[in-house]
């Protein structure tokens, strides 16, 4: 049987945390026929959680009138997920290193770090009239980028 062809899925959700689970369920469904290994799917899900959280919490300030647009381009070779909010944007270079000794016990500031660790690549675009767009890329069948790959095994 031939592999399923590449597909595009677009979602528009209001800025509520409960919609994170909705988007993740759609991604799970999209990945289901592609035989993506469970480990990769799990870490990708964590990265997507963080992207959606940032869009809802920081970008749209949990304003339910503001939308988070999600686009999935998924095929047998990999996935690109775009998450876009209506916020004012931010400077990625100003995000502090959560591994710095002074930051280890901070209660926030790890989301982008997790996204970078668990995906192959992330990119930001900022609209001229506002809005932050983050693109998450992951190739299937490549080296693992989950926590185990960086730490030599968690068990």
């Amino acid at each position: 049987m031939s592999a399923p062809s590449r597909q595009t899925i677009r979602l528009s959700v209001s800025s509520r945390y409960e919609n994170i689970e909705l988007v993740l369920a759609v991604v799970d469904e999209a990945l289901e026929p592609l035989d993506v290994d469970e480990e990769s799917a799990y870490w990708m899900g964590i990265a997507l959680r963080e992207a959606l959280t940032n869009a809802i919490k920081h970008g749209n300030a949990q304003d339910p009138e503001k939308k988070v647009e999600v686009a999935l381009e998924v095929g047998a070779d990999g996935i690109e997920i775009t998450v876009e909010d209506e916020g004012g944007g931010f400077d990625p270079a100003a995000v502090e290193d959560p591994l710095a000794p002074d930051n280890l016990l901070k209660t926030r500031g790890r989301g982008i770090f997790y996204m970078r660790k668990f995906m192959d690549k992330i990119e930001y675009d900022f609209g001229a009239e506002g809005g932050t767009k983050v693109r998450l890329h992951k190739k299937f069948g490549g080296p693992r980028t989950g926590a185990e790959g960086d730490q030599g095994g968690a068990e």
Partner: protein
């Protein structure tokens, strides 16, 4: 997320079940720890064995709980971490800060 509270050998154990993620599990964890501390708990142990997922907000709540308890002279320990939950803490080097133990017996002994 579901949280049950019990006592063993002077320690307050919170059995966590579900996801410690933004908007639900993180709030439940915060409330459970504050309630336990308010009721006089000094040493609190979090049974992580049935935690399926944790995100950065959940990690933030673990740190907040650690700070709350240690600032009052108590200890906060975690035990029975599933491999992936442990991985999330390892990758941000929090295993060097939080007291993480293999199982409940070890955790209880550490605060007795």
């Amino acid at each position: 997320m579901k949280i049950d509270k019990r006592q063993r050998d002077g320690a307050t154990i919170l059995d966590l079940q579900g996801k410690i993620t933004i908007g639900e599990g993180d709030v439940a964890l915060r409330e459970a720890v504050h309630e336990a501390v308010g009721a006089g708990a000094v040493n609190i142990l979090l049974n992580m064995g049935r935690v399926r997922t944790i995100d950065s907000s959940g990690v933030g709540e673990l740190i907040a709980a650690y700070t709350t308890v240690t600032n009052r002279g108590g200890k906060l320990g975690l035990f029975s971490l599933p491999r992936r939950v442990l991985g999330v803490l390892q990758i941000t080097q929090l295993v060097t800060v939080l007291d993480i133990m293999e199982d409940e017996d070890e955790a209880v002994a550490s605060v007795s």
